[in-house]
Symmetry: C2
Subunit: 194 residues, 2 copies
Amino acid sequence: MSQDHLDARRRQILDGARACFARHGYEGATVRRLEEATGLSRGAIFHHFRDKESLFLALAEDDALRMADVVAAQGLVQVMRDLLDEPEKRTEEHAADWLGTRLEVSRRLRTDPDFRGRWAERSEQLTAATRQRLIRQREAGNLRDDVDVTVLTSFLELVLEGLVSHLAMGLPADDMEPVLDLVEETVRRHRRSS
Amino acid sequence: MSQDHLDARRRQILDGARACFARHGYEGATVRRLEEATGLSRGAIFHHFRDKESLFLALAEDDALRMADVVAAQGLVQVMRDLLDEPEKRTEEHAADWLGTRLEVSRRLRTDPDFRGRWAERSEQLTAATRQRLIRQREAGNLRDDVDVTVLTSFLELVLEGLVSHLAMGLPADDMEPVLDLVEETVRRHRRSS
């Protein structure tokens, strides 16, 4: 197989597995279900990934890198707006599945201390991308300058975490746009107010 | 048994079960583990609660009511600060266990559509308490008046959701105080800024 074929196969496995983990959770994503979701045999799947754990971490990392790209170009609030959008309007087309992965990561972090260490290295890209973007926005004069960039980064990440949780719980999100406007305004340079 | 005894017994079951669900998750909280955690027999437990589902919903409701009391008196940001505090400093002494219950609620809402309906009725107290508190703060002139109370309520709930998720994942929270200061400032009446 050529490198292109290998890459395409890897992508096929990650996309199928993402949907499968999102739907059934980590434990529920059995090898049989992973075969169905990817359209590949277990032999083919585990040729590319050592085990289920490695597959899950690879796709969580894949998601984090993709989100970091959107953050770098458009900011973390845009990532949040994408999560609210109809699938066809999303900048990040895998947002719904990404949501499932992210929730599954949350659950495993809570119940599996070993997983926490392996995840920590992979979760830093999004923070770094958010921070870099905010620093550039501050240099451009678009960011408020009375609050530390570290605090603003944590604030945006906390709201994203809340939104992920909210959406994953299937709670209504049609009233969220003005909330995200408020979040965006909070990190921006203050206009004089009355 | 007198009513006082019945109430005390009910409280004993709820407190033991809360710790048990927080530690093992809903499915992992077996009847045997519930017996150990409460120090009572299954007969005694299911004399008070029809089944495990009813027990779980009762304690989720119990938590929501308790949180609503703190919100009414001190606001939702204080609830968040309590979550960050050392156990001995907490206004809400069950914050850590409450966190586990809340995460378990999140997971079940995601994976169990039937549960969603049963939960909806019980989750409204906290929203109502937050909203009432904000309305009183606006009347007292402490709240910004350029954003609808509904939006501010959703904003605070979203941040709480994020904080719950953050803490439940075991992520470091020692840098969260200035973030909560920013959240509090965002809903308050704007000071003139430069």
